[in-house]
Amino acid sequence: MKPAPALAEGFPDLSGMRIAREPHWFRWLSAALIVLVLAAIGRAFAGGQIEWSYVSRFLTAKVILEGIVNTMVMAVLAMALGIFLGVVVAIMRLSPNPVLKTVAAGYTWLFRGTPLILQLLLWFNLALVFPTIGIPGLWSGRAVDVMTPFLAALLGLGINQGAYTSEVMRAGMLSVDIGQYEAAQAIGMGRLRALRRIILPQAMRVVIPPLGNEFIGMVKATSLASVIQYPEVLHNAENIYYANSRVIELLIVAGLWYLLVVSILTPLQMLLERRFARGTLQFAR
């Protein structure tokens, strides 16, 4: 065996030497600057014409707490309706049946094409179009009694959300490899079973981040239901400041509650994402 050739000179041994820490002067400077600006803003608000005692007093007032509960109830129910409609419409959209496809596309077109607040007002004022509504021969009632602010808000928010969610779900289903669908067919699964067992669980991983976005949007979109008298948190805050004229204080109260709710939702989304990441990472379990 030949000995290994001698290594060339002039390339010193660097093993054992550490990489030095950089001082990062600019980071320290910019951070200090931002703290200064924030402090100035804080000081301005502290000295401004805001009665902070009102904020703390109304933050936990019964009407406000009821309002935030109503906000959450509406957000969850409307989002559930939106996801249900979204899944159904996305499946219709990807179906080979041209009738289903057209109906689904028309639904998305109509409800994405008009403002949400307009849709809410239309649902709420449905009685102007149909004084009585019901199922012929089974049951009927006066539309003003049936179309309560709650129902109008649920239908308006949920059906509008369904139009957006259907596109999110469709993107998720399209992201799953066509081979997955073929493999499901090859073991004898029909279209719907393959969707439910194989395609949708994999699509969920992709759609959870955008759906989280949509849900956060929904929590805030419920505030639009204040225009149709649904007693959510902004509506209740407005009612208070109509009486006591503490407009900014009560808007801050409502704002803090929205911030708190959204802050809680973010870690919940991460838990959900982990649940649906099964099998995707080498050592995920």
């Binding site: 081979g179 493999a183 073991i187 004898g188 699964m189 067992r197 994999q202 099998g279 995707t280 990472l281």
Partner: protein
Amino acid sequence: MTKPLVAIRSVAKNFGEFQALKSVSLDIWPGEVMCLIGASGSGKTTLLRCINQLAAIDGGGIWLDGELLGVREQGGRLHRLSEREIGRQRLKTGMVFQRFNLFPHKTALENITEGPLQVHGRKFDEVRAEAVELLRRVGLSAKADAYPAQLSGGQQQRVAIARALAMKPMLMLFDEPTSALDPELVGEVLAVMKELAKSGMTMMVVTHELGFAREVADRVVYMDQGAIIEQGRASDVLGAPREERTKAFLSAVI
């Protein structure tokens, strides 16, 4: 006299202008191991997909176990079968894909039990016992709870074979089962397929592994441009091809 398990008669398949299959006729007999060879685009994969009805044929007919696939003859016309009926016909064939197509959100064991549980609606305990036995048969008893991403390509393909076998098919279709594998992993998959062939399973294998074809196949079929050019015993087709195109293909491959 026994009947062929699969009878393919004058089958045509087009993708737009492109004729993927031009009047292909072929019989596959029970217990036979047939290897389909040919250049890519020669129609061999399309033929498998037509038998499994992942692709619908445009002309001719395929009979599996005596039953016409995909259509029903009535009053001198052909009517397409419903999705449910096609699904029932598919159960007679098992398919192994080039890219494995395991369900990534399910463990190896769950991949195997999914079909029997969901499609056959059988009991969990009995299905699980069979799946464990199938995993042992493909040499992966230790990997029952592993997700596909935790398995090598060769291991994934062996799980995919077990998944297809779990449906108790009469015919196994292999679509280039080793083409996506690193060279050192090809052998373990071929070994499982050899064992399967020895057990008497009827198999159609699209492959570039001529060594496997020579050793295991009862018949080798060479396809080119959507047509069967030559077929016969492996030693004849691979060892002493008669057709010029077969000779050209073999000399290019070896």
